[in-house]
């Protein structure tokens, strides 16, 4: 609930915070971390929970079955013990006749033999079918007592045998009574009844070898202790647990003992008597291995959680950082795009204006030229000198206008790129064809070294022509008549192209070379617009390439152009290569 609420706040913040603001990235980071944490740790937690429950039920069965087995085994021992006592009494009843048992001497002798051979026998009595104790050997004066009303008598009459619950005898020792009914050949019935102390019970329980926190005892079906309990009370006290009195079956259940400790109770009902053997073990002892496993599971979960958290934070940090970088980059590109679009439309407008102005300008030029010519060819007249001055002024202005229109056209031209496959060597030759005549006039030696297997690149042929023309025009201007200009093409990196234009001209001084690509920087004064190299620089930059210059005064200059395979093809790499 709290988490939901928090996510709501984050979403609000994301929507309200402006993209690009520091807040945005902080919130985004938190969002990603929380979402990823939920997505990754939830399955982990579910898996661990499922494992937890599965292991628990499995381990419980594994751990509990030995307890039940133990309870059953011990119960069996008890049953054997009781059965042995019953058999002994039954044997005596069968071996001796009623008359023999009625004899006080005989019965006393039998009791003493029983005491010696079996132990635990306290007394022995013969009860006639009318319920009167006919003969008795033992410490109590019971002879002649009528047993008709007693459960032991009634039950023995019905079932033929009887094992009583524990009771305290006259000397406050716990005892049980076993009784068997005997049927004579002549149809006479009588009952032989023996009292046995329960020391043997304690011995049996002791032999279970229970650890100190565990306990085992017998209870009857009323929940009364039949043996001493180490922890929960003595014989004939009420057992604090609710023991299921179902006979013949064993149960195991969990409950709390009077001290509030959680315990497991295994119970096994006797078939021969109203006893139930109860085994009490503290849960912590039984499930020790389970608790160890649980701790391990928990540790695994905590470590896993910590690792996931760490990894997610790391990943998210780098993710958000990259996102931020790419956002910034995109914004920059958008800005540049906007700027270039603005330039493009200005350029188109400028080109239109320049083109429209150029034609009338040409007419003015010719008309003024004609006036000048006429002045030359006509005879002297008044104000002739003044006319000449005026015309020359007009021609100068036309010249200025021409410079402006060329500048505008140059500006417009560097905007629109037309990318197509380009054979750089062919472009070089085209441009040279343009300048061949001037080279011829001035006897300039143009030396070509064009690499034959030059890469074909995607670029703007017209723009590259423009750039090469600019460079070559500059080179022509730099060299004396008879100078040397070298053009070298070669492959650049894997798929790019490198063009070097060298001259052995005047060279460029250091203070000028720094500004050589600046717009409106010109050394040609009136003649140049100061835009040639800056336009060239712009074009090459736009085409993803670089243009660099190195020069020595008096020895000449080298202009190096590199162009990538495509204008989009990692221009940064190539910039770095040629930065210096």
């Amino acid at each position: 609930m709290l988490k939901k609420y928090k996510i709501g706040i984050f979403l609000d913040r994301i929507y309200t915070s402006k993209k690009g603001s520091p807040e945005y990235y902080i919130v985004l980071r938190r969002m990603i971390i929380i979402t990823m944490m939920i997505l990754t740790t939830l399955p982990l937690a579910i898996m661990i929970m499922v494992n937890h429950f599965q292991y628990r039920s499995h381990l419980r069965n594994e751990l509990l079955s030995p307890i039940i087995t133990m309870a059953n085994k011990t119960k069996h021992s008890f049953e054997l013990l009781l059965e042995a006592r019953l058999s002994t009494v039954r044997f005596i009843a069968t071996a001796y006749t009623y008359e023999e048992l009625k004899d006080a001497q005989n019965i006393k002798r039998i009791l003493s033999v029983l005491k010696n051979e079996f132990g635990g026998f306290v007394d022995l009595g013969l009860i006639a079918s009318n319920g009167i104790l006919e003969s008795y050997a033992g410490p109590y004066p019971l002879l002649g007592k009528n047993y008709t009303e007693q459960t032991s008598f009634q039950e023995t009459q019905i079932k033929g045998k009887y094992v009583s619950n524990v009771f305290l005898g006259h000397r406050k020792f716990p005892h049980i009574v076993v009784a068997v009914q005997h049927l004579n050949d002549d149809g006479q019935t009588w009952i032989l009844r023996a009292t046995i102390d329960t020391d043997q019970f304690d011995t049996l329980i002791h032999s279970m070898g229970l650890e100190s926190k565990s306990d085992a005892f017998l209870v009857d079906n009323q929940g009364v202790f039949q043996t001493n309990s180490k922890l929960y009370g003595d014989t004939l006290e009420k057992c604090p647990f609710d023991i299921p009195s179902n006979r013949f079956e064993s149960h195991i259940f969990e409950t709390e003992d009077p001290d509030g400790q959680k315990v497991l109770i295994a119970s096994a009902g006797f078939s021969t008597a109203n006893y139930t053997l109860v085994l009490v073990k503290p849960r912590s002892v039984v499930l020790q291995s389970w608790y160890a496993l649980k701790t391990e599971l928990f540790v695994v979960f905590v470590i896993g959680f910590a690792l996931i958290l760490l990894t997610i934070i790391q990943i998210t940090n780098s993710l958000v950082r990259r996102l931020k970088e790419s956002d910034e980059k995109r914004e920059k590109v958008m800005d540049e795009l906007q700027h270039s679009q603005k330039l493009s439309s200005i350029g188109r407008l400028a080109a239109g204006v320049a083109h429209e102005i150029n034609n009338p300008l040409a007419i003015i030029n010719e008309k003024a030229g004609l006036v000048n010519d006429l002045l030359d060819y006509s005879e002297a007249f008044t104000n002739q000198a003044k006319f000449r001055l005026l015309v020359s002024s007009i021609l100068q202005s036309v010249d200025r206008c021409r410079t402006i229109t060329h500048r505008l056209l140059g500006f417009a031209k560097r905007i629109d790129l037309k990318i197509e496959p380009m054979e750089t060597n062919v472009v070089v030759k085209d441009v040279l064809g343009f300048l061949e005549r001037e080279a011829l006039y001035r006897k300039i030696d143009i030396r070509l070294k064009l690499y034959e297997e030059l890469n074909t690149i995607d670029s703007d042929k017209g723009q590259i022509q423009q750039v090469l023309l600019n460079l070559l025009t500059n080179a022509f201007a730099a060299v004396e008549d008879g100078g040397v200009i070298r053009i070298l093409t070669e492959n650049f990196k894997v798929s790019g192209v490198k063009i070097t234009v060298s001259d052995n001209g005047s060279g460029i001084p250091d203070d000028i070379i720094q500004h050589i690509f600046d717009p409106f920087f010109s050394t040609k004064k009136e003649k140049g617009t100061g835009l040639g190299l800056s336009i060239s620089y712009g074009i090459i930059d736009k085409l993803g390439g670089t243009i660099t210059v190195s020069s020595r005064v008096g020895q000449g200059s080298d202009f190096v152009i590199t162009l990538p395979k495509t204008p989009e093809h990692s221009p940064e790499d190539e910039h770095e290569q040629n930065q210096d």
Binding site: N358, I363, I364, G462
Partner: protein, 130 residues
């Protein structure tokens, strides 16, 4: 050679420009005919022979380059000097590839033009003499 006037065919859609330039060239001793479009120029060329053609590349209708192609197919030996209105080197270069002798940018300097005309005619004469 020097006694006969050099005969120039001037093709430019700006009539004012063409006529004024023609007048200036005539003042300098050249014989000129002007045409205001490519078709006109070709018609004139069909009727008489010229030593050189001065051709504007930027014309409505039949473009300068088309006219150049026609001229080069009909009279391949006649040199052609191109004039281009805007600073496009592209058309200029295309023209050069098609066999134009040289090109000039408008507004032009009459001295440059006459220089080119003289060298063009000289070169073509030289070729003929070879």
């Amino acid at each position: 050679m020097s006694k006969t006037k050099i005969k120039i065919l001037l093709i430019d859609d700006e009539e004012e420009f063409a006529s004024t330039l023609a007048e200036r060239l005539e003042l300098r001793g050249y014989e000129t005919r002007t045409a205001v479009c490519g078709e006109d120029g070709l018609n004139l060329l069909a009727g008489e022979t010229f030593d050189i053609a001065v051709l504007d590349l930027m014309m409505p209708g039949m473009s300068g380059l088309e006219t150049l192609r026609s001229i080069k197919s009909s009279t391949p030996d006649m040199p052609v000097v191109l004039l281009t209105g805007h600073g496009s080197t592209k058309e200029g270069m295309e023209g050069m590839r098609l066999g134009a002798f040289d090109y000039l940018m408008k507004p032009l300097d009459i001295k440059d033009l006459t220089l080119k005309i003289l060298s063009a005619v000289g070169a073509s004469d030289g070729k003929e003499n070879e």
